[in-house]
Symmetry: C2
Subunit: 342 residues, 2 copies
DNA sequence: TTGAAAGCGATACCAG
DNA sequence: CTGGTATCGCTTTCAA
């Protein structure tokens, strides 16, 4: 296994020069650099990142903490992050931290992330507490939250409240008045979580239309999955009487479940029930789902961009793009929403 | 940032003893060990994995190469692998290598994996060529394939051919004779790929029943996604005449798309069309899909088990469990298959 | 059981 | 622009 000394010897230079030539840091005569590079190629030299990390303190490795891999939104984000990191020459170390898995979670933060294996952390859809941030901070590892929050950490996200508000307004403008919301887990309990913000946006839009919901029967919480949405929608639509004419689902997957439940119950969409989702899921078009698109893969890309800036910074101010403006979203109207039937 | 020297000093021992006490390798008096551990805890000592790797050559890190993150099967496998690795104290470095992304792929193998950052590689659903294996081999990194193949590497997989055969037989036994197959991409071109093996199993079962397909019209290749299955099924079912009465889909997602297409065309499932999938997707129950389950998360777990054995081995023979028997699968009959209508 | 010292493989400072 | 050398933090002989 050739080391840099071998390269140096073969090229007839010192290790120092070989290093400079290979890393590109420091000045080396063009001719020398070529000789070194040739030598390296010839013996198949590959630098040891461990040795380099040991002295530089940088690992060219970013950690990603994510609550699910197998949910569309998170999978897209992860792919986006991975692509961008690889493109920048960084490795991605994956930590799956599902909600409620507190033991696994503290293990990740106190054992894995406390070591110096990563240069930074991207936390996707997770709220970090002070202790967790402190662990990273003490080691000078920048933290970037995508979607979630962490005390004192950089943060990138869409405006969840505004998005839910817009979704609701879309239905209101169509003439609906009996609108229900399928909220994510913990929406009522954690007002600053993604489900909480979306629920808030829904309520705000309803209130602004003078439709303060009597009782909470028209908000049902559900896991943000298709079977979750299916079950919740059955519950919501099953009883006749004051059945809603429209549903704001907290995610496209929940919306798909809702459409499926409607079908099961013989309720026509959009004739008898309008459904709007949030996400821009890749299946939305196929199902004709009206939704508010966000762009998770692109979000992953941007997150990497920001985090690399955070790593490289010489202490510039806020490295967030667009001075921290929310990430872009877009309403896409399809065939799952229409005016309520007379 | 405390180093092992600090721990040693505080505990009143040498670095050597501190190291032995902390790593558990080598004999240390019980009393001494406790003193060292106390000292370490007191100053918040955390070992530098880089320094350790530099001398041991082990990184406690396993690379995972996977073609998709955002497809149910692969997401499950990835979660299973992650959980098992973390449980064993290993980091997981993720490399997403989509089919056809040859540039990205060679970058991963020749740049990222050629370095000594990982102790082993798990390749999920990817075939590796000799060069790619050689890169790892030369560095003594074991390779384990899950689903795919690599020359000379350990391999774990279900029996794809038998699975497709069984799926087809299920339909045959129900009395179907006009059975179509929605195959994965490259099924005809690459007989040893997963889609290829499944296609083969389908054809074998058909031939065994004396139903050698006239023409290839009853095998359509499609991306293994729901929209893919939808489009392919529209094409397959759209023309009346010799429309099949049953479909073997190469995956559950394709099966879902097929069911959706049938619905769109007003074809009743299972009355006019039986559909069987392969995977055991978490939505299968909700859609009433008959399928052959495999257990991707569990497969991930087993893969980790094997790969850790590969890393640790003192050159024992075949470290595959069950002497290389195929991974378990199970037929689950639901409401998407029935006897053909008279 | 413990300690002293020799590396592991690179980078970076300081001279020249 | 280039070379010598200290250094990063740990593990591991080799002796005691």
């Amino acid at each position: 296994m050739p080391a840099i000394g071998d390269v140096a010897r073969l090229a007839g230079v010192s290790k120092a020069t070989a290093s400079r030539a290979l890393t590109g840091k420091g000045h080396v005569a063009e001719a020398t650099r070529r000789r070194v590079e040739h030598a390296a190629a010839e013996i198949g030299y590959i630098a040891s990142p461990d040795a380099a990390s040991l002295v530089t303190g940088r690992t060219k490795n970013v950690g990603v903490v994510i609550p699910f891999v197998n949910a569309w939104f998170f999978g897209e984000v992860l792919e986006g992050i991975e692509r961008a990191l690889i493109g920048a020459g960084y490795d991605l170390t994956l930590y799956n931290v599902p909600p409620g898995g507190d033991d696994a979670r503290s293990r990740v933060f106190d054992f894995f992330l406390a070591r110096k294996r990563v240069d930074a952390l991207i936390a996707v859809g997770v709220d970090l507490d002070e202790h967790e941030v402190a662990v990273l901070d003490r080691r000078d590892k920048p933290v970037l939250c995508l979607g979630g929050r962490a005390p004192g950490a950089a943060r990138l996200s869409i405006d969840d409240r505004a998005v839910a508000q817009l979704a609701t307004e879309h239905l209101l403008h169509l003439g609906h008045t009996r609108i229900a919301h399928l909220a994510g887990p913990g929406a009522a309990a954690s007002p600053h979580s993604v489900p909480g913000e979306r629920r808030h946006g829904f309520l705000e839009a309803m209130a602004a239309a003078g439709l303060a919901p009597g009782g909470r029967a028209n908000i049902v919480e559900t896991p943000m999955t298709m079977p979750g949405g299916y079950a919740a929608a059955l519950q919501l639509l099953g009883q006749p009487g004051m059945r809603p004419t429209a549903v704001v689902a907290c995610s496209d997957e929940v919306a798909f479940g809702t459409m499926r439940a409607a079908e099961r119950l013989g309720i026509d969409v959009p004739g008898e029930l309008s459904v709007i989702g949030i996400d821009g899921h890749e299946h939305a078009e196929m199902f004709g789902l009206t939704t508010i698109e966000q762009y998770p893969e692109e979000q992953g890309r941007v997150a990497v961009e920001v985090v690399l800036r955070l790593i490289a910074r010489g202490d510039e101010p806020d490295p967030l793009p667009d001075s921290g403006a929310p990430l872009p979203t877009r309403l896409v109207v399809r065939s799952s929403t229409s005016r309520p039937r007379r």
